[in-house]
């Protein structure tokens, strides 16, 4: 009896401990997770503002470093050399954002499945096939061969690792505890992966295949008509019209018309990549007003990069101070230096250039072993790169053999019935370079010449680098390594067998479109066309729609005595250029049509609208819902099966059609026997719009307010852990609006810098410095961001500066 009791009890205990010591499906090992000594309880931080002063001894530090934190949790780092400076940047960034850095590197390097299991396998495969590792390896060699970038990267790596080493399991960020894995040592190449990921987000798409489909279905005339290389209705290019191209042009490669059109024949249904298509809302605004337009007598610069809004934020604020450098701005966790910011003498910012730097080549393999491919009239060997993907819960890794041609990895398929891919990707992400050094030099820049020198190193993703300095210069440069192409090279699928279609060199860096101190007194960009058609080189045939750029330029044109606040208002500008352009015409059509009382009410609402996408506007909801429905109604029947919404003719082209070509055949729905006209399409899409809104939000009422219909949300980076998301947000704006907040994308950082003898700067992002949901700094900036306000950025001159906003500090000593 005793025996039975003892055994029973033992079994229960061992069973309990065993069950609680291992994960069950998505549930973490509960013993560790629930224990207040090791579990999530440890991740709750004391709320309120800390005021501690501590000293830490760390390995491989060279001299003493002081970190002072301000009241919003921004570290101000004072070091005595570059190594220590970036060491400390790595240390504090890891302290606040370790799991984010881990996850983003895993996403970029195709190693998510190692910790998340089979659910992310396809995503990992996609990263591996695209050659993210190939690109990162090519880049790290360049970076490590340049002394400054090498020092920065080694310092950063040592700092991140010093922090990781200081952690015991109870200190791990809560995401590690939830997902049941542990941080691994940081490697210098991880910074390259972060840059690859940025290149992928901003310049990792192409619609070459779809354009080839259109070409095949409709022929060249229709392509030229519907997919023109420059907006037909309205544009306000980044480099002002009339800017002189003051350089000796290099010869542009010639397109040799092909006798054999086989390269253009593609299958019935191209295989789509699983990566999400590029959405509007990933873009950015920046501008700088010159001294004569500003109230301070010095330039003022503004920048708001639009990306997916996540928690923690993609950005991390930091001030870096060491001999020869004192810079403040936002960094990307995982990359040393400041990416967007200012120093004593200059300020700079970036927006994305929609350059055509991702091309697809149709490859002709000798046989199914894919060992040789046909190019320049001979068989050339491919190179095989073996990718091993480890998957959580599976013993053996999954092996992917990726074949590389001189173009790049053969990774996509022209036809989903194919057994193996037949399209090679030529992508700027594979080009060896040292873009990091551009940021490093901008951090230290003193004037316009430093800016131009810094830019010459940059490879990609191409950015519109805006600049202002204390010498009262303003400038903007469409900057990046841009391939020298024949016109429209890469608009369609390219022929991988012909040297004619190869990328042939680059637009010389100093000939990238640029303008300094233009007569209009300001420079700006919002991802629209880089230049007007007079620029001698081909950059791309399609750019982001022009509305944001048009609005920004109109307002800056009219502005005088600009100050921080007037520019802040412009960042928050909700005016819809799109509505101004197209709505009067649409309303005039509705007026001549019979409407039900509900439709009449909606029409009246629209007619009384001031084109402001304010959070409370009902008209904005109707219009913003209507536009995509209308676009679908016009184009879906013509570009259905193989095309996605992004592959329709552009918004500009659609508006041109409605305003100037009302009798075109495209209004007719080819799937119905009768012939539809513009009026029919407008009316039916209007009805659909109201039906959609009614089914989702009830009858027209304040529940149709734009903020509610849009429903902006900021999710935790995991996209899984809902309680770590931000609370519901109330925002105006929209994709085509200067205040570019959509459901999930928007201004991920808003910054305004007033230059002058001592710079005054303001900035905010939606979230907080800490990635820990249990920290008082997780969401502390959110409310202000939502209201469109900015924080003054505390720019210190020395570690001994006094400011009531300074709170805690850490002194780092070498061990």
């Amino acid at each position: 009896m005793k025996f039975v009791k003892a055994i029973l009890c033992l079994i229960v205990v061992i069973g309990l401990v065993y069950a609680l010591d291992r994960p069950w499906g998505p549930v973490p090992a509960l013993g560790n997770f629930l224990s207040p000594f090791t579990g999530f309880w440890q991740n709750g931080e004391k709320q309120g503002i800390p005021s501690s002063e501590i000293t830490l001894k760390l390995d491989s530090l060279r001299e003493e470093v002081i970190i002072r934190f301000d009241d919003v949790g921004v570290p101000h780092i004072f070091a005595k050399n570059d190594f220590d400076l970036f060491y400390t940047q790595g240390y504090v960034t890891a302290r606040d954002r370790l799991w984010q850095m881990d996850l983003q590197v895993r996403a970029a390097s195709g190693r998510l499945s190692e910790v998340l299991g089979p659910a992310t396998l396809e995503l990992d495969k996609s990263s591996r096939r695209l050659g993210m590792g190939y690109g990162a390896e090519a880049n790290i060699k360049m970076v490590m061969s340049e002394p400054h970038s090498r020092e920065a990267l080694l310092g950063y790596t040592a700092g991140v690792n010093a922090y990781i080493r200081s952690l015991s399991p109870k200190d791990y960020p809560v995401e590690y505890k939830l997902l049941g894995y542990r941080p691994e040592p940081w490697k210098p190449i991880n910074s390259m992966y972060m840059m690859e990921q940025m290149t992928l987000t901003l310049a990792g798409r192409s619609n070459d295949l779809n354009m080839s489909e259109v070409l095949k279905k409709y022929g060249k005339d229709v392509v030229n008509q519907l997919f023109p290389d420059y907006p037909m209705l309205q544009e306000s290019p980044i480099i002002p019209v009339g800017t002189k191209w003051d350089f000796a042009r290099v010869p542009v490669p010639l397109e040799i018309p092909k006798l054999d059109s086989s390269a253009q024949t593609i299958g019935a249904k191209p295989l789509r990549d699983i990566r999400e298509p590029k959405v509007e809302g990933i873009g950015s605004n920046n501008w700088a007003v010159g001294a004569e337009k500003s109230i301070t007598g010095y330039p003022i610069l503004a920048n708001d990069p639009h990306l997916e809004l996540t928690l923690p934020s993609i950005w991390y604020q930091v001030q870096l101070h060491a001999p020869g450098i004192n810079v403040y701005g936002v960094s990307l966790p995982g990359i040393p230096s400041v990416v967007i910011g200012f120093n004593q003498n200059v300020a700079w910012g970036v927006t994305n250039v929609d350059a055509d730097v991702y091309d697809l080549y149709k490859i002709k393999f000798k046989d199914s072993s894919r060992g040789f491919y046909w190019h320049n009239n001979q068989w050339k060997p491919t190179r095989k790169r073996e990718e091993l993907i480890y998957v959580k819960g599976q013993l053996d890794p999954i092996r992917e053999d990726v074949f590389y041609t001189h173009h790049g990895p053969v990774t996509e398929s022209s036809n989903e019935s194919l057994q193996s891919p037949d399209l090679a990707v030529k992508w700027i992400g594979h080009e060896p370079g040292n873009s990091f050094v551009t940021f490093y030099e901008l951090n230290k820049a003193k004037d316009y010449n430093d800016y131009r020198k810094a830019l010459a190193h940059y490879v990609g993703p191409a950015q519109n680098f805006i600049f202002a300095d204390n010498g009262k210069n303003i400038a903007i440069t469409v900057n990046g390594k841009l391939p020298l192409k024949y016109k429209d090279q890469g608009k369609f699928l390219l022929d991988g067998t012909s040297p004619t279609d190869d990328w042939k060199g680059w637009i010389p860096a100093e000939q990238n479109p640029t303008v300094k101190n233009p007569p209009r007194g300001f420079v700006s960009s919002a991802n629209q066309s880089s230049t007007d058609p007079t620029y001698p080189y081909y950059i791309n045939w399609s750019f982001a729609p022009s509305e944001r750029g048009i609005r920004i330029n109109e307002r800056l044109e009219a502005m005088s005595k600009a100050n921080m606040d007037s520019l802040r208002m412009l960042q928050n500008d909700n005016f819809s250029v799109q509505a101004r352009t197209i709505l009067p015409k649409l309303l005039s059509i509705l007026e001549t049509s019979p409407l039900s009382p509900t439709q009449k009410a909606a029409q009246t609402t629209l007619a009384g609208w001031n084109y402001q996408n304010t959070p409370e506007s009902v008209a904005a909801s109707i219009f913003e819902t209507w536009v995509p429905v209308l676009r679908d109604a016009i184009w879906k029947d013509d570009f259905d099966k193989n095309f996605g919404a992004g592959d329709y003719p552009s918004r500009d082209r659609t508006e041109y059609l409605i305003l100037n070509q009302p009798n075109e055949r495209w209004f007719d729905n080819v799937n119905t026997p009768q012939k539809e006209t513009l009026n029919d399409v407008v009316l039916s899409s209007f009805k659909t719009t109201l039906d959609t809104l009614t089914s989702r939000h009830g009858a027209m009422s304040p529940s149709w307010q734009w903020a509610l219909v849009k429903g902006t949300e900021i999710r935790h980076l995991s996209r899984l852990i809902k309680p770590f998301n931000a609370p519901k947000l109330r925002t105006g704006g929209g994709g085509s609006i200067v205040n570019a907040i959509t459901k999930r994308n928007g201004p991920s950082w808003r910054m305004i810098v007033e230059l002058g003898p001592s710079p005054k700067a303001y900035g905010i992002y939606p979230g907080g410095q800490s990635g820990n949901p249990g920290s008082p700094y997780y969401l502390n900036l959110l409310k202000k961001w939502e209201k469109g306000e900015l924080n003054e950025l505390l720019y210190l001159a020395s570690p001994d500066d006094k400011s009531p906003r300074l709170t805690s500090s850490i002194k780092l000593l070498k061990n």
Binding site: F3, W41, P723
Partner: protein, 116 residues
């Protein structure tokens, strides 16, 4: 007495050793200093439960539930306090059964009780 010994030893050992000290400590103490089976369970349960509850409560209050309320939501619980109750019960059960197992094992080998 066993309550205090278990409470203190578990608290100290958990600062550096794994969570399952909440099983090992009550087991050993009850093998070393047996009471009755019922008392072994109750005292062990109480010692671990009080320890986890009080430390958990301190961390919860200190952080104003910033983490615990969110984790509670993951487990579909209304707030961190309820999650703390669950935590307490889980810890208590492990400790209780371990204590009882220690007691019975001691009985099995008829080890002379150290006291009483």
């Amino acid at each position: 007495m066993n309550f205090i010994i278990i409470f203190i030893l578990t608290a100290v050992s958990q600062l550096f050793a794994p969570w399952w000290m909440v099983a090992l400590v009550p087991f050993l103490i009850n093998a070393w200093r047996p009471a009755t089976s019922g008392r072994a369970f109750l005292i062990s349960f109480a010692a671990i439960a009080v320890l986890w509850f009080s430390y958990g409560l301190y961390l919860h209050v200190n952080s104003e539930g910033a983490m615990s309320d969110r984790i509670a939501e993951i487990f579909s619980l209304p707030n961190g306090i309820l999650l703390l109750v669950v935590t307490t019960i889980v810890g208590g059960l492990v400790g209780g059964f371990a204590g009882m197992a220690g007691f019975f094992l001691q009985q099995l080998f008829e080890i002379q009780p150290a006291r009483r």
